[in-house]
C-alpha cells in the first residue's frame, strides 16, 4: 500500500475513525491491529520475520530487565562490605552476564537482516574469487525478497534492546505493546527510526482527537505528496534517462542529472517521511525529525546531521560511541599520541570509528560495491575535513578571508552541495566503474551550450514538465529558506483568514491532481528508501 495511493488515504481514514471511536483503554490495541493489517497488505509471508524479531527482542529485553532488577537488589545488600576493586569486579561480571543475553539476540536479528540483504552479494563475490583462484568451488546463491521495512524495524528493535541493556529504561512486559512499538505503520516503511523513550508512550496512551493536530498532519501529508509526486517523480525521468544511457548523455548532462538526482532523492525520501509524520500526527503521535534542510548544510558533517537524522543518530549512539570509547580505541589514541603527536593521536579514536560508520552506512543502503564506495567517499571527506580543520582555519586567517558574511556562507553551502552531488553520482550510476566513467565524461566533455540548444528537452520531459519541475523546486527552496530562517510555515498559515487558508489547501490539492505524476504500474515500491 503506497503512501501516495488512494488506498492509503482510505486506510488512514478508517484507522483514525476506528482509533478515536475505540474506548480509550483499548486504543493501542486498535493501533496494533491496524499495523498488522498494513503489514499484511505488504505480503503475509513476511510476517514471520516481523514476529521473530518481536518475540526474540521481547524475551531478551525482559530477561535483561529481570537481571538488572536482581543485580540492583543484590548489590545494594552487599555494597557496604565491598571495597572499590570488588565493586569494579562486580560490575564487570554483571556486564559479562548481560552480554550473554544481549549478543545472541542482536546477532539473531541483525543476522536475519544480513542474510536476507547481503547473502547474494557475498555469495556472488566469493564465487568470483573462487573462480579467479581456480578453486573449483561454487557456493549456492539464494536471492531473497526483503520484507517491508526490515532495516528500519530491526534497527529500532535493536536500539530498544541495547537501551534496556544499558538500563536506560525498564523493558516493556506486555508482548502486544512491544509488537505495537516495533510495527507502527507510518514509520515501518522507511523510518524515521523511532526511539522507545520518545515513541512508545505516545503509542500506548489513549490519544484524543485534536483538530489542530489532524489539520497539521493532513497539511504535512499534502506537502509530502507535493515533494514526491510533483518534484521527485518528475525529476526521476531526467535522472533515469541520463544514468540509463551514459554513452549518449555525457559531459554537462551528467552534472544536470546529478543535480536533479539530489532533488529527486530529497523529494522522494523527505516526501515519504512527511507523509508518514503527517499520518502519525493525525493519530496524535509525533515522530522524530528525519530531515533538517540538508542541502543548506555548510559542511559534510553538517549535511549528515541534517539528512536521515534518525539513521545517523542510531549509528552515533549504538556504533560510534561504543567503538570510540572502547578500551581498544582509547589505547589506540594513547599510542597514537606517542607516535604521531598530540593532534593526530587525539583524533584517532574519532577518525577510525568514523570511517567504519560510513562503511556501514554505505552497505546499509545496499549490497553493492557502489554503496561501499559511497561510504568510503563520505568517510574520506569527513576524515579530511577533521584533519585539515585547524590548518584551514589558520590559512583563512592568514588570507584575511571574512567568514562572518553571507558570501562565505553561500560558498560553504555550494561547496557542500557539489560534494554531496558527486557522491550521489556514485550511488545512482549502475556501478563503480560507470560512476568513474560518468565523472570523467562530465569533466572531459563539459559543454554548457548543449543545454541552451534545447538539450534539456532530450531528457524525457517536455517544456511544460520542465517548467513545473523548476517552479516546484523553487517553491521547495523558498519554503526551506523560510524554515531555515525560523519561520514556522504551518503555524503562520493557521493565523491567516479562513478564505485564504482554503484557497491554499484547494490549490495544493488541485496542483497535486493536475501535476502529480501518476503512471501505469505506479506502486509503493517507487519510494526509493523503501527498498533499503
Amino acid at each position: 500500500m503506497s503512501f501516495t495511493s488512494v488506498q492509503f488515504v482510505v486506510f488512514l481514514l478508517l484507522v483514525a475513525t476506528s482509533y478515536f471511536l475505540t474506548p480509550k483503554r483499548y486504543r493501542w490495541v486498535t493501533l496494533l491491529i491496524a499495523n498488522y493489517i498494513f503489514y499484511f497488505f505488504a505480503g503475509p509471508r513476511y510476517f514471520i520475520y516481523l514476529l521473530a524479531t518481536t518475540i526474540t527482542i521481547y524475551f531478551a529485553a525482559v530477561k535483561l530487565g529481570d537481571m538488572s532488577a536482581k543485580n540492583k537488589a543484590d548489590f545494594a545488600a552487599a555494597k557496604a562490605d565491598l571495597d572499590k576493586e570488588q565493586k569494579k569486579n562486580w560490575k564487570a561480571n554483571f556486564t559479562k552476564r548481560k552480554r550473554r543475553v544481549l549478543i545472541p539476540a542482536m546477532l539473531f536479528n541483525l543476522g536475519i537482516l544480513a542474510v536476507l540483504k547481503y547473502s547474494t552479494f557475498v555469495g556472488s563475490n566469493l564465487n568470483a574469487l573462487f573462480e579467479r583462484l581456480s578453486l573449483g568451488i561454487e557456493m549456492p546463491i539464494h536471492s531473497f525478497l526483503l520484507p517491508l521495512g526490515i532495516s528500519f524495524y530491526t534497527f529500532q528493535s535493536v536500539a530498544y534492546l541495547i537501551d534496556v541493556y544499558r538500563e536506560k529504561y525498564e523493558p516493556e512486559r506486555n508482548l502486544a505493546k512491544l509488537a505495537l512499538f516495533i510495527s507502527f505503520f507510518p514509520q515501518i516503511v522507511q523510518g524515521p527510526i523511532g526511539r522507545y523513550n520518545d515513541l512508545a508512550e505516545q503509542l500506548y496512551r489513549p490519544n484524543s482527537f485534536s483538530f489542530e493536530k489532524a489539520k497539521f498532519g493532513v497539511q504535512l501529508m499534502l506537502w509530502g505528496a507535493f515533494k514526491k509526486l510533483i518534484i521527485a517523480d518528475r525529476a526521476k525521468v531526467i535522472v533515469d534517462m541520463v544514468f540509463g544511457y551514459p554513452e549518449t548523455f555525457g559531459g554537462t548532462y551528467v552534472a544536470v542529472a546529478a543535480f536533479v538526482y539530489c532533488i529527486q532523492l530529497y523529494g522522494d525520501f523527505s516526501g515519504g517521511i512527511d507523509i508518514a509524520t503527517g499520518a502519525a500526527q493525525v493519530l496524535g503521535i509525533q515522530l522524530e525529525k528525519n530531515f533538517l534542510r540538508p542541502y543548506l548544510a555548510t559542511s559534510i558533517p553538517d549535511f549528515w546531521r541534517r539528512w536521515h537524522i534518525s539513521l545517523g543518530a542510531w549509528f552515533r549512539d549504538y556504533v560510534f560511541y561504543p567503538l570510540s570509547l572502547s578500551k581498544f580505541f582509547m589505547k589506540v589514541g594513547k599510542k597514537g599520541r606517542q607516535v604521531l603527536g598530540n593532534y593526530i593521536g587525539k583524533l584517532l579514536p574519532v577518525l577510525i570509528p568514523q570511517f567504519i560508520i560510513f562503511f556501514l552506512i554505505g552497505i546499509w543502503h545496499g549490497a553493492e560495491w557502489k554503496y561501499i564506495a559511497f561510504g568510503f567517499y563520505n568517510g574520506t571527506l569527513i576524515v579530511l575535513g577533521i584533519l585539515f580543520d585547524q590548518p584551514l582555519k589558520k590559512l583563512i586567517e592568514k588570507l584575511h578571508i571574512r567568514t562572518d558574511c553571507f558570501s562565505w556562507h553561500l560558498f560553504q553551502v555550494l561547496r557542500t552541495f557539489i560534494l554531496v552531488a558527486l557522491g550521489k553520482i556514485i550511488t545512482r550510476a549502475p556501478g563503480v566503474s560507470a560512476s568513474a566513467y560518468l565523472m570523467h565524461s562530465m569533466v572531459k566533455n563539459w559543454n554548457t551550450e548543449v543545454l541552451m540548444n534545447g538539450g534539456l528537452l532530450k531528457l524525457g520531459l517536455d517544456t511544460q514538465d520542465l517548467w513545473v519541475l523548476l517552479f516546484a523546486s523553487l517553491v521547495l527552496l523558498t519554503i526551506s529558506l523560510l524554515q531555515e530562517s525560523g519561520v514556522q510555515i504551518r503555524e503562520a498559515l493557521s493565523k491567516q483568514n479562513l478564505l485564504f487558508r482554503w484557497i491554499i489547501y484547494l490549490a495544493a490539492i488541485f496542483l497535486l491532481i493536475m501535476f502529480g505524476v501518476y503512471g501505469l504500474n505506479y506502486n509503493a515500491s517507487d519510494f526509493i528508501y523503501r527498498g533499503f
Binding site: 565493586k87 544499558r166 538500563e167 536506560k168 558533517p301 549504538y318 587525539k346 574519532v350
Partner: protein
Amino acid sequence: METLLKILAELRPDVDFEENKELVDSGELDSFDIVSLVGELCEAYEIEIGAEDIIPENFNSVEAIMALVVKLQED
C-alpha cells in the same frame, strides 16, 4: 571544577561553558567533541565512561558533566 573548566576551554575555546546549559541539545558540542572530552575526563579523573553514559543530560552543562564525574568516582 577548575580542572574540568580547563579541559573544556582547551577543547573548545570558542564556547562559553559557564553560560551555556544546552551544550549538546543546542549542537554546540558534537560527537567528536564528546569523544575527545571523554578521553580527557577519563585520564584526568581516573574514571571509566561508557557509551551508556553518553546521553545529552550528562553533557548539557558543566554542572552536569561534573555530576557525572562525581557519580562515576563514587561508583
